[in-house]
Symmetry: C2
Subunit: 436 residues, 2 copies
């Protein structure tokens, strides 16, 4: 049974705080194992990758077969049904169009003192994308990670995807092809992260690594952070739906279950001022759950973390949503735009009953890699910006240095940094001589 | 003696790689101590802060005196010399003007299928800024961290600055006042980071923590990351100067020394195709070093990490610079704009001989919190963006769902996520009924 809360309960604050601080993830401590794997790859390169892939993926590789060849990729992708290919192509095209609008502009201006200031954006040179193997090997995630990198202008784009027992997901290869990936390696786990961060004889190191993975992959990403950039370490997924009266309870139930079927640690939350709707949605969840192929997973998530909160009105619902800062926020209400204005912290907002969160996972265009575990309070989903960096620019004329340099000399003195001051005053001295 | 390299050396690649991989920082392992301090603050709140401040800062506080009062702040800032106040005010105003231009815009558009897409930016609600005590208590860093937060629209801005033995830096308080900081606490170390991340009876928790600090502060920031956002963990500072013939050797020497005086782990690098200039600059460094108040620090940095590299030409210099990806890049050449176009990875670029890096530390306007240790390959300096987050928006009409929904259903099926597919197809079914 899901958690039932109502803001009318006298102990609501305590219960809500308990729900907020619920730990949904028991990250296994795999740091020692991961450190050993990374050291092995750094020390032995390709040979380590071959050994580790034999051990973990029961797959016999050679340095030459670490990468998929063009011919192999074509052979696999040829198996994809035309309807799947068309769906993936539509998704790729919509994701590309959305992310193309995110490209930021360079700026340059000259201020009244004569200082020319600004910044410019340049892409990361090489990026590596991790794709899990097995059940969670999602072609949609390939598109969501690789397309922003390509739009940003990353020159070299690498994928590592394990193929346990040699099983290849043709849709993953097709997604990589559609996204314009340059190299695909059939390695996984911490060894793949190590190979991308440090390089081997055949895999050149990259500058940034993104993509989801299991506890080993997450620990390896933390481990190599600093050596390369990484994206966020994602926690279990979550959806929060704010709904009112006229909405279709079956649709809402399916949206809650779509989140729950991801993972037993996923969380689905319904907040509504309408007790009848809450009851109807819960009944629909119970009715639909047993028919799902992933009923065991979805049922565990709904039983352990599913939450229904009754509020006085929509304003109160919006305020609670902000305290949760959900990854996905569905506003299934008559005026979703007005309600969106009343919330501030969410990874992605889905406005109105015709925008189920699942379209956002695949084809609407925005990225589906979003901040979890309340981190939408301070972070954003994956975007083109994750594959760009900003360099600030400054150019002073002698007159500009004469105008602002003395303040720098003064501040350097107050901070006890005399060479800082001298580096400015030596130039000012030459200026003064020239004028003398 | 600094490291001398030349691209004409047959073993240059090996030597350069050795220089690149030189470890300049021996981070003490303080994780256990930090974990204990954080646990103590979480468990005992204010009482822990009072005890830890007595122990580490030899300062007796009460919960009521954790914060500076308005009257105390005024009393301290009144002591600041008018010239220092004016210099700080100029710096604040220029930093504000630069960062105001960084505010990104919200976007919203409707695509041909009828999907209204976009994103919006919202500020982090509360930010905490750590300011070190003692020697490295820099008012300029207060401005560089606090002003971007204010420009972003952060509602509540908190500073923690330790005052060991009760010694207060009036310029730090003045900088906080100029930047519009709301609360200032006289606590430091891991306990300050814990207080800002988890809150105590009097210090409300924040959502994002930025600012420099010692090994304890850095470890504490890593520890609370996830609970709150953090900025980068900065390594020792570095400058790379590319110079050619006509430049003033004294200026270049002072720019190298300005970097070296920060820290014995700092690194100053000169790259030039002109052997005479290289010799002249090195001689100037030797001449000027002994006269510096911080000669011991600057001398150690120059001796251990200072580097001079001779190249064939400026193109080669630019290529080496990109491999180093320096925090600060000074282009002291005749055509710095052209050379800037040939480089890609740097935190900040200072164009031409009249733009010493020290003006960037204080008054030019761009942020002085910049990526170190080659991380400019994949990350950027502090900016307004660090205090904002992006929420993606999507709103479909029934027609838009009819157009793109079937592709989502297809992809959900290929990923084995049936509730995802049902959440879309249940809506499509209603649409088809309506039309039937």
């Amino acid at each position: 049974m899901p958690i039932h809360l109502s803001t009318a309960q006298p102990d609501f604050e305590t219960r809500f705080a308990g729900m907020l601080s619920m730990k949904r993830e028991d990250a296994a401590d795999v740091n020692d194992a991961v450190a050993a794997i990374i050291a092995e790859v750094r020390g032995r390169g390709n040979a380590a990758l071959v050994d580790l892939t034999a051990r973990f993926d029961r797959l016999s590789l050679t340095p030459a077969s670490l990468a998929f060849s063009k011919a192999e990729i074509t052979e696999h992708t040829a198996k994809v049904a035309p309807e799947d290919r068309a769906a993936l192509a539509m998704a790729a095209s919509r994701i590309r169009a959305y992310h193309a609008r995110q490209m930021p502009e360079d700026m340059r201006w000259t201020d009244p003192e004569g200082a020319t200031l600004g910044w410019r954006w340049t892409p990361v040179s090489a990026a590596g994308l991790y794709v899990p193997g097995g059940q969670a090997s999602y072609p949609s995630s390939v598109l969501m990670n690789a397309i922003p990198a390509r739009v940003a202008g990353v020159e070299r784009l690498v994928i590592c995807v394990p193929t346990p027992d040699g099983v290849v997901n043709p849709l993953v290869l097709l997604a990589a092809e559609l996204a314009g990936v340059d190299e695909i390696y059939r390695i996984g786990g911490a060894q793949a992260i190590a190979a991308m961060a440090y390089g081997t004889e055949t895999i050149r190191a990259v500058d940034k690594i993104t993509g989801p993975g299991n506890a080993y992959v997450a620990a390896a990403k933390r481990h190599v952070f600093g050596r390369v950039g990484i994206d966020m370490i994602a926690g279990p997924s979550e959806v929060l739906i704010i709904a009112e009266g006229a909405q279709n309870p079956e649709w809402l139930a399916l949206d809650l279950l779509a989140q729950a079927e991801h993972d037993a640690d996923a969380q689905s939350i319904l907040i509504t001022p309408d007790a009848d709707l809450a009851r109807a949605v819960e009944a629909e969840v119970e009715r639909l759950l047993p028919g799902l192929p992933r009923a065991a997973v979805a049922g565990a998530s709904w039983r352990d973390y599913g939450t229904i909160i009754l509020t006085r009105d929509l304003e109160e619902a919006a305020a609670l949503s902000d305290r949760i800062a959900p990854e996905h926020l569905e506003l299934c209400v008559d005026d979703p735009e007005a309600l969106a204005q009343k919330t501030r912290h969410a990874g992605a907002i889905f406005l109105g009953g015709w925008t189920p969160e699942a379209v956002g996972d695949y084809v609407s265009g925005p990225n589906h890699v979003l901040p979890t575990a309340r981190s939408a309070r301070f972070s954003s989903g994956l975007s083109v910006m994750d594959f760009l960096k900003r360099t600030t620019l400054a150019r002073l004329t002698p007159a500009a240095l004469a105008a602002i340099g003395p303040a720098a000399v003064r501040l350097a003195a107050s901070e006890g940094l005399s060479a800082h001051g001298l580096s400015v005053s030596a130039r000012l001295a030459v200026l003064n001589e020239d004028q003398g």
